[in-house]
């Protein structure tokens, strides 16, 4: 029987992979992709928790409790889409100015 712990483990694994990728990958595209993984890890957790913390058997009284988590996940997806659009725009600008998408070289703010 698949329980809440499986969702949470999946979420944690996804989050760890995403975190690892976003901290270690040099390619800006790969970093963005890793960040997407983080979002999705959170979505999995949110949806899973929403499902399992709500008592079974939907009634008119508790439906908004269940929907809270799922609506929240939808918001995350929206934000993630916007974030990717913004991120890609930065990557393109970066490529234009520096001729590379290596995040290790993106340190002009330091100077």
């Amino acid at each position: 029987m698949v329980g809440l712990e499986h969702f949470l483990i999946l979420s944690a694994v996804l989050f760890a992979i995403g975190l690892y990728g976003s901290l270690t990958r040099r390619n800006a595209i790969a970093v963005l992709m890793s960040i997407e993984l983080l979002f999705n890890a959170v979505n999995v957790a949110v949806v899973g928790i929403a499902r399992y913390t709500t008592p079974f058997g939907l009634t008119a009284d508790n439906v908004d409790l269940l929907l809270t988590g799922q609506v929240f996940a939808l918001f995350v997806v929206t934000v993630a889409a916007a974030e990717v659009a913004l991120g890609l725009a930065i990557v393109i600008t970066m490529y234009r100015t520096q001729g590379s998408v290596d995040v290790g070289e993106a340190n002009i703010m330091r100077h």
Partner: protein, 668 residues
């Protein structure tokens, strides 16, 4: 006597100082003789008031009580100022103002044409005012203030010709050496602060001199406490009165103008030390060991300084060593309890010592040098100066019936009469000093005034120019040569001779008139001794011991005779009586200056104390601050490397931090 009049004795010279400093010197410097007149008027006024004070004090059972005034309050300690007018004060006032007046009149001619004429009189007024303030003070702290002012003004006057390096050095030396003694005085005052409880329990003020008398007399403080107190005061007196071993500043103080030396040696600076011991006499009396210390220090100084006077070739230095020796006399008299005799000697000494210095200054106007080897024969040139110098020398030597005889004899008689071991010891020392005193002062007299004139400063310059000469010209002499100074063979002007004449008369009569053994016209028998009974009031009857008097006169005459045989008649060559190493020893001032300069200043202070402090400063102080700097710089550098602009690195740190917080949260 009104209190305002007593205060005026101090404020008149002070006003003269302020007026000269603020008005005459800045605006009327082209008429600087005004400064001289103003000072003479102020000190003359103070002298008149002092005579009034003396008269008033005799009529008031030897003390006029004035209430003290509140000055400031520190915690529960009340610091008050006031006037303590008793017999000692009155005598000192007359001596200080009288001698100062004579010196100021004389200085008009001596300092004529000096660029610093007005400045000279400003300092002289300050000097006299400080000494008068010291004498009048009723509180020990008030006294200390003036004590330091006396030191300051003597510093200013010794270094009066500040463009001469030797004068500047001598001034600093005088100031520092006396400060060393002042430290003892200050500690004694702090000690009184410390024992304030004893005083306030008895309703007394720990800084009031009369209250200190009460406490010392009633035995409220233990003997040990009083001994330390007395030693503290005595340390101050050793410095100021140039007693062994802090005597080194006084001979160097000759760098100042000669009238300044007369004032320092007779009435002000050095008399302050003896005055302090006399003022605090009840404290000393309460402690036998302190008294013995005073007596023995005085006795050693009396002989020690006399030996150096015997070999010195500089007439001013001879007289300076003579002062040290005579101050030793006063100290030893105080130490054996001969309070009245000591003050009496101070009184007489002031006149003949001032006269000796003024005489030396007068001689210098002819010869251009103070070196007696280049004087000689001046009695024909300056008969008046010669005559008065003879009077002063006889008085100093203690020849009957001049002033010096009476006080010296009283000291000797009391020392002999007391009969304890210390008194016997200082009696012998004093007797030895009598002989030496007569010898050295007549040696100076014969070398200066008898024989043929040996050319003065010009001959000295010629002799110094010879290739193997050991002679060194003093800066004073160099200036004289630079001015093309010839010996101008003439008696000094009347303004110089007149004050000397007054002092000469006093040098003859002051002893006899003030303390005659029988009633003299209106002056009662033993007037000064009866007047000066010690503050705790036990009458002293000076014994006249016939054979002591005859012996001391005999020794003095022997000294005079020996000096005559060697230096006037030329019957004995000085070399025949000279034991070379001993001569060297006295010429080099017993190596005391070398000891202080080479060993104490050079080694102990510079090398070890300063070296240790330097090491501490370099290693410890610098080390601490260097390491703090290093720490800050390197921490900063470490943190700066972490801020590398790599977002991923920041993210890593952030993640680690979040995990740590999470773990802490979970473990709790």
């Amino acid at each position: 006597m009104w209190e305002a009049a007593a205060w005026a004795i101090f404020f008149l010279p002070l006003a003269s100082f302020v007026l000269i400093g603020l008005l005459i010197r800045p605006f009327l410097n082209h008429r600087s003789e005004l400064a001289g007149y103003l000072t003479i008027a102020a000190i003359g006024g103070a002298f008149a008031l002092s005579l009034w004070a003396l008269k008033a004090t005799t009529g008031h059972s030897n003390e006029i009580g004035y209430a003290s005034h509140e000055w400031l309050t520190v915690g529960n300690l009340d610091i008050r100022v006031g006037i303590l007018m008793n017999s000692l004060t009155a005598i000192m006032l007359v001596v200080v103002t009288g001698v100062s007046l004579a010196v100021q009149v004389y200085s008009q001619a001596y300092m004529k044409g000096d660029a610093g004429y007005a400045r000279y009189y400003a300092y002289m007024s300050l000097f006299t005012a400080s000494m008068l303030g010291l004498v009048l003070a009723s509180s020990i702290l008030q006294m200390f203030v003036f004590w330091e002012l006396v030191g300051l003004s003597s510093y200013l006057l010794i270094g009066f010709w500040y463009h001469r390096p030797s004068a500047a050095r001598a001034a600093i030396k005088a100031f520092l050496v006396t400060r060393l003694g002042d430290l003892g005085f200050l500690i004694a005052i702090l000690y009184l602060f410390f024992h304030q409880g004893v005083f306030s329990n008895a309703g007394l003020n720990s800084l009031d001199i009369r209250d200190i008398y009460v406490v010392a007399g009633a035995g409220l403080l233990g003997t040990t406490a009083l001994t330390w107190l007395a030693i503290g005061f005595f340390a101050g007196a050793i410095g100021k009165s140039a007693q062994f071993p802090l005597h080194v500043w006084l001979p160097d103080a000759m760098e100042g103008p000669t009238p300044v030396s007369a004032l320092i040696h007779a009435a002000t600076m050095v008399a302050a030390g003896v005055f302090l011991v006399a003022r605090m006499f009840p404290v000393f009396e309460a402690s036998e060991s302190a008294m013995n210390l005073v007596a023995i220090t005085g006795g050693i100084t009396a002989v020690f300084a006399a030996t150096m006077a015997m070999t010195s070739n500089d007439i001013k230095r001879v007289v300076a060593y003579s002062t040290i020796s005579q101050l030793g006399y006063m100290m030893l008299a105080l130490g054996i309890g001969a309070y009245t005799a000591a003050v009496f000697h101070l009184f007489n000494h002031a006149f003949f010592k001032a006269l000796l210095f003024l005489g030396a200054g007068s001689v210098n106007h002819v010869a251009g040098t103070f070196d007696m080897r280049f004087m000689g024969g001046l009695r024909k040139v300056q008969p008046w100066t010669y005559g008065m110098f003879v009077v002063a020398a006889l008085s100093l030597a203690g020849i009957f019936p001049l002033a010096g005889f009476w006080s010296k004899d009283e000291i000797l008689a009391e020392a002999f009469h007391n009969g304890d071991f210390v008194s016997r010891l200082v009696f012998l020392l004093a007797m030895a000093a009598v002989f030496m005193t007569a010898f050295y002062i007549f040696r100076a007299l014969f070398m200066t005034f008898h024989g043929e004139f040996r050319g003065g400063v010009e001959s000295k310059a010629e002799a110094a120019a010879l290739p193997d000469s050991e002679l060194v010209l003093t800066s004073d002499e160099e200036e004289k040569i630079a001015e093309g100074g010839h010996a101008h063979m003439a008696e000094s002007p009347l303004v110089m001779v007149l004050p000397m004449g007054v002092l000469a008369v006093l040098s003859v009569v002051s002893g006899f008139v003030a303390n005659a053994p029988f009633k003299l016209l209106t002056i009662p028998k033993h007037w000064i001794s009866e007047f000066l009974v010690a503050p705790l009031g036990h009458p002293e009857t000076p014994e006249f011991i016939g054979w002591v008097a005859i012996l001391s006169i005999g020794l003095a005459l022997a000294g005079v005779g020996l000096a005559w045989a060697i230096y006037a008649a030329g019957k004995i060559a000085p070399e025949r009586l000279t034991y070379r190493p001993l001569y060297q020893l006295t010429m080099r001032k017993y190596y005391m200056d070398d000891l202080y300069e080479r060993f104490i200043v050079g080694q102990v202070f510079y090398r070890y104390s300063a070296g240790l402090l330097d090491w501490f400063d370099r290693v410890f102080v610098d080390g601490v601050s260097d390491n703090i700097g290093w720490f800050g710089r390197n921490i900063g550098r470490g943190i700066a490397t972490m801020q590398n602009g790599q977002v991923q690195a920041y993210g890593g740190v952030f993640t680690v931090g979040a995990v740590i917080i999470l773990l802490v949260y979970l473990i709790k």
